[in-house]
């Protein structure tokens, strides 16, 4: 059987790329190792009657153009009308329900600091102005700094012009902030520790860095630039729509089939070999696996150019995020505001506590007070849990990567207990309502989802691994030094998370080639 393109991995980026390629007239096959599509966005039953809403539960980065180009709304996708507020609980006090809209957020922030309420409006306005420069950068291929033809040159000029268009003051502010540690930015912006840490946290999830580490401000700016309101039903709803869109365009999906080798003939990709020995022919192979898996595991070592091999050995993918799923018999209620049933919760008392959690990671120790990014997806999709029950989805930021700590069964349970007791310190009824839990350490994530290093974003997103350096300069435009092999996963620009970004831009690059 011969295909125009064989996509490896049916995660949301693999499906996005496949759907868009099929839309461009290509005959596409998607090969998926697991028994279901969706990868980190797929819903799995972790306790009888309880299903997750995917490993990554934040869908605010999903690109509108993918929804439009693949007619996802026709295939059942619904966008949220407005962003979900994030609740920041306190042990003493009332907590803070943080809306993205500054006018809605103002009354809540006011009770902490009137100055911060005002600053928050300015902060959000800065992000939206910055978006004018960052959005084109994150919705298209990265400026081809490493390229050398004329069109590459114009791409760079355009990116430069977009930055200049921010205006002199804003441009200088951006350039001042970009290499800064998040702590410095947050401290000069706000005085409320709860607000500082809650806003900074998403900027720290993608790399092995703490808020005091230089360059972390860029991660946050890139995260904020692309935020929409999110998808109703979360990541699994996105996957369902993507699959339906793919099927309607004739994309073939084969589950429970793992690719053992990408096949080359005289330096040119000719297809893949499956674990069972079956050989599939394709004039192009697009891998949505992480780059290290793609090059170091799926290629015959002999076929891999040495520079690329070295680049991949140096590519950092130290997974420092764990996942905990809780099955509850009742709602997740917080002592500081019992009447509120928040859908998103962030627990991280201050920038200092975030940095201290990172200190543990640095030295390969179990975190003491890790930052928790909590979602209760059963609030918007009650089908995930039995009647009255709820699913709590917790991303545990700042846990030691596999290389620094041996993740034994005992440590997994220790981490689970730690997370539960940390959450229970804000929500005391939690313990009595838990009927089941699943703890996934970076090692578990590596094994279950085929993520080299267990990194949920397929690779860290420090300043040295973003834009034209993601994953390495020679592969940053989705093509690779191996003719016919393309990358279309989170290891490529614009990076990880449930965004469909890499799959979308890679498909365009493939269709343009």
């Amino acid at each position: 059987m011969s295909y125009d393109t064989i996509v490896i991995g049916a995660g949301h980026n693999g499906l996005t790329a496949a759907g868009l390629l099929a839309r461009g007239g290509r005959r596409v096959l998607v090969v998926e190792r697991r028994g279901e599509v969706g990868g980190l966005a797929s819903s799995t039953e972790f306790n009888p009657g309880y299903r997750t809403a995917g490993i990554l539960h934040d869908t605010t980065g999903v690109r509108a153009s993918v929804i439009k180009d693949l007619d996802l709304e026709k295939h059942g996708l619904r966008r949220r009308s407005e962003p979900v507020p994030v609740f920041l609980p306190e042990r003493k006090g009332t907590g803070l329900l943080l809306h993205r809209d500054p006018s809605k957020a103002a009354p809540e922030i006011n009770s902490f600091s009137a100055r911060d309420a005002d600053r928050y409006a300015k902060y959000q306005a800065f992000h939206s102005r910055l978006g004018r420069f960052l959005l084109p950068l994150l919705n298209g291929p990265s400026p081809p700094v490493a390229g050398n033809d004329r069109s590459d040159f114009w791409g760079m000029i355009k990116a430069g012009m977009n930055m200049r268009r921010l205006g002199r003051k804003e441009m200088i502010e951006f350039l001042r902030l970009a290499p800064m540690p998040l702590r410095d930015w947050m401290e000069e912006s706000f005085e409320t520790p709860l607000l500082q840490s809650a806003l900074a946290a998403p900027g720290l999830s993608a790399s092995l860095l703490g808020p005091w580490s230089p360059g972390t401000a860029t991660g946050l700016m890139m995260y904020e630039a692309v935020r929409g309101a999110g998808i109703q039903g979360g990541a699994p709803a996105l996957v369902r729509a993507l699959l339906a869109a793919c099927e309607s365009r004739g994309v073939e999906v084969r589950l429970n089939e793992s690719v053992s080798r990408i096949r080359l003939r005289a330096g040119v990709v000719v297809g893949v070999t499956l674990a069972g020995g079956e050989e599939l022919d394709g004039s192009m192979v697009a891998s949505s696996c992480d780059p290290r898996t793609t090059f170091l595991d799926l290629m015959t070592p002999r076929d891999l150019p040495l520079d690329l091999e070295r680049g991949m050995q140096n590519f950092k993918a130290r997974g420092n995020v764990a996942k905990v799923h809780l099955a509850l018999t009742g709602p997740l209620a917080f002592a500081c505001r019992p009447d509120l049933e928040p859908e998103n919760i962030r627990i991280g008392e201050s920038l200092v506590s975030l940095e201290k959690a990172f200190d543990c990671v640095k030295y390969g120790e179990m975190p003491v007070e890790p930052c928790l990014d909590v979602a209760v997806p059963s609030l918007s999709d009650p089908s995930l849990a039995p009647d009255g029950g709820h699913v709590v989805s917790i991303l545990v930021y700042a846990v030691p990567p596999t290389g620094t700590l041996e993740w034994t069964d005992a440590r997994r349970e220790e981490l689970g207990d730690l997370v539960v007791s940390r959450l229970a310190s804000y929500a005391p009824e939690l313990r009595d309502r838990i009927v089941g839990r699943e703890v996934l350490t970076p090692l578990d994530l590596e094994r279950e989802y085929g993520l080299n290093g267990g990194h949920l974003y397929h690779g860290e997103q420090g300043l040295d691994q973003v834009l034209f350096m993601r994953p390495v300069p020679t592969c940053a435009q989705y093509s690779t030094p191996l003719e016919g092999l393309w990358l279309c996963g989170s290891g490529s620009h614009p990076g990880g998370g449930i965004t469909c970004g890499p799959g979308m831009i890679a498909a365009a690059a493939i269709l343009n080639s």
């Binding site: 080359l264 005289a266 330096g267 015959t300 070592p301 002999r302 076929d303 150019p305 040495l306 520079d307 091999e309 070295r310 030094p481 003719e483």
Partner: protein
């Protein structure tokens, strides 16, 4: 300080000229006499014995040794049969030559690679995913090259081994002076010749036995200077002189491809992946930008440039390796990188790299020369290599 090879007790006793140089970290004799004519004549008319121990040696063993070397080398080493030797080069990812050397297949899973410059790190870097072990044996194995028309007779007398039947670029094992040796029919003189490989501790008895057997055939201990003339006559490129390893080059233009240094015949492109394959394929499509050629300097023009200064013509007394610009129609089109007066051919020879378009046989070029402190140009013609290619080398 440079090291002494295991043959040093003998070579140092014989080298009354005290003309030594440092070769890859070892003391090496340039010539045993104050001039190298005697040694050169031994190479071409009798036999010369030269200590080539400093040549770097790597033992590559293991199940994947053939496929590993096929990945590293431009030649398909998987096809090399046991008991055979081949010569080729290896490149970086961009198809630029790193080094050249011989590869001998001693058994199914044991190969020996020789190189001019340290290659251990590179070989190891290429080994991820291959079941191979790579060990350097440079300082454990002494190597003697016995080269010249009488070499076969001498070695047959000195060694208990099948010498008469050992064909060109074949390898065998045997005994010399009761010590185990490995013998390959290889060399760097372009003549009938052998190389004898032995463990350090056996070096002196092996050396003595060969010298003794060679005495009645006119064997001479030879140095690098005489070998340099013979390798130019044979048209062999020298790493670090006629081309430079991509590893040490400061700029792109200093690097060379296998095609550019005349190793087209050693490149096997249509096969499984090897390092540099894509770049070499692209170069083949694009066309080779420059070529290494043989030049024969015109005698009449040489007389003319000397006569202009009122001097009699003079030929170089030694092989030279100071690069000289090569011109065509007044524009530089390349450079000659080494050369020598061949007393056996009575020709003034050079190896030169010239731009595309000027490498065809018979192309007339001008080469720079200095006569009485004055720069001049004289005529040189592109001629086929090797300049000297005796029948006996192969038969």
């Amino acid at each position: 300080m440079p090291l002494q090879t295991p043959f040093h007790p003998r070579t140092s006793e014989l080298c009354t000229s005290l003309l030594w140089k440092e070769w890859a970290g070892y003391h090496a004799v340039c010539s045993y006499d104050t001039v190298n004519d005697r040694e050169y004549i031994a190479f071409r008319h009798a036999a010369g014995l030269i200590d080539v121990t400093p040549l770097m040696k790597y033992e590559v063993t293991g199940k994947d040794a053939p496929s590993f070397l096929a990945r590293v080398m431009v030649r398909n080493i998987e096809k090399l049969r046991v008991g055979r030797v081949t010569y080729c080069c290896w490149c970086d990812d961009r198809g630029k030559v790193l080094d050249d050397g011989t590869i001998t297949r001693w058994s199914e899973e044991h190969f020996r690679v020789t190189s001019n410059s340290p290659a251990l790190q590179w070989l190891q870097r290429c080994a991820r995913g291959f079941e191979v072990a790579i060990h350097e044996s440079t300082d454990r194995i002494g190597v003697l090259a016995l080269q010249g028309p009488a070499s076969r007779t001498i070695l047959a007398a000195a060694a208990e081994a099948e010498i008469e039947g050992l064909r060109f670029f074949r390898a065998t094992t045997g005994m010399v002076a009761g010590k185990p040796v490995e013998i390959t029919r290889t060399g760097y003189t372009g003549d009938l010749g052998f190389e004898v490989w032995t463990a350090n501790e056996n070096a002196l008895p092996v050396y003595d036995a060969i010298m003794k057997a060679g005495k009645i055939h006119g064997i001479e201990p030879c140095g690098l200077d005489a070998m340099d003339v013979t390798r130019i006559e044979a048209g062999f490129v020298l790493h670090g002189v006629d081309y430079f390893s991509a590893r040490t080059c400061m700029i792109e233009s200093q690097k060379s491809t296998p095609f550019e240094i005349g190793l087209d015949w050693a490149v096997q492109l249509k096969r499984e992946s090897f390092v540099g394959q894509a770049a070499i394929l692209a170069e083949q499509d694009r066309g080779v930008a420059r070529r290494l050629v043989g030049l024969e300097l015109d005698w009449d023009d040489l007389e003319r440039v000397f006569e202009e200064s009122g001097l009699p013509p003079e030929v170089p007394r030694h092989a030279w390796r100071d690069p000289l610009p090569v011109y065509r129609d007044g524009r530089q089109v390349g450079q000659a990188t080494s050369g020598a007066w061949s007393s056996i051919l009575k020709k003034n020879l050079a190896l030169a790299t010239v731009n595309k378009g000027w490498s065809e046989k018979g192309t007339e070029l001008m080469i720079e020369t200095t006569v009485d402190f004055e720069r001049k140009k004289m005529k040189a013609v592109v001629v086929p290599k090797p300049f000297f290619d005796p029948e006996r080398k192969r038969t």
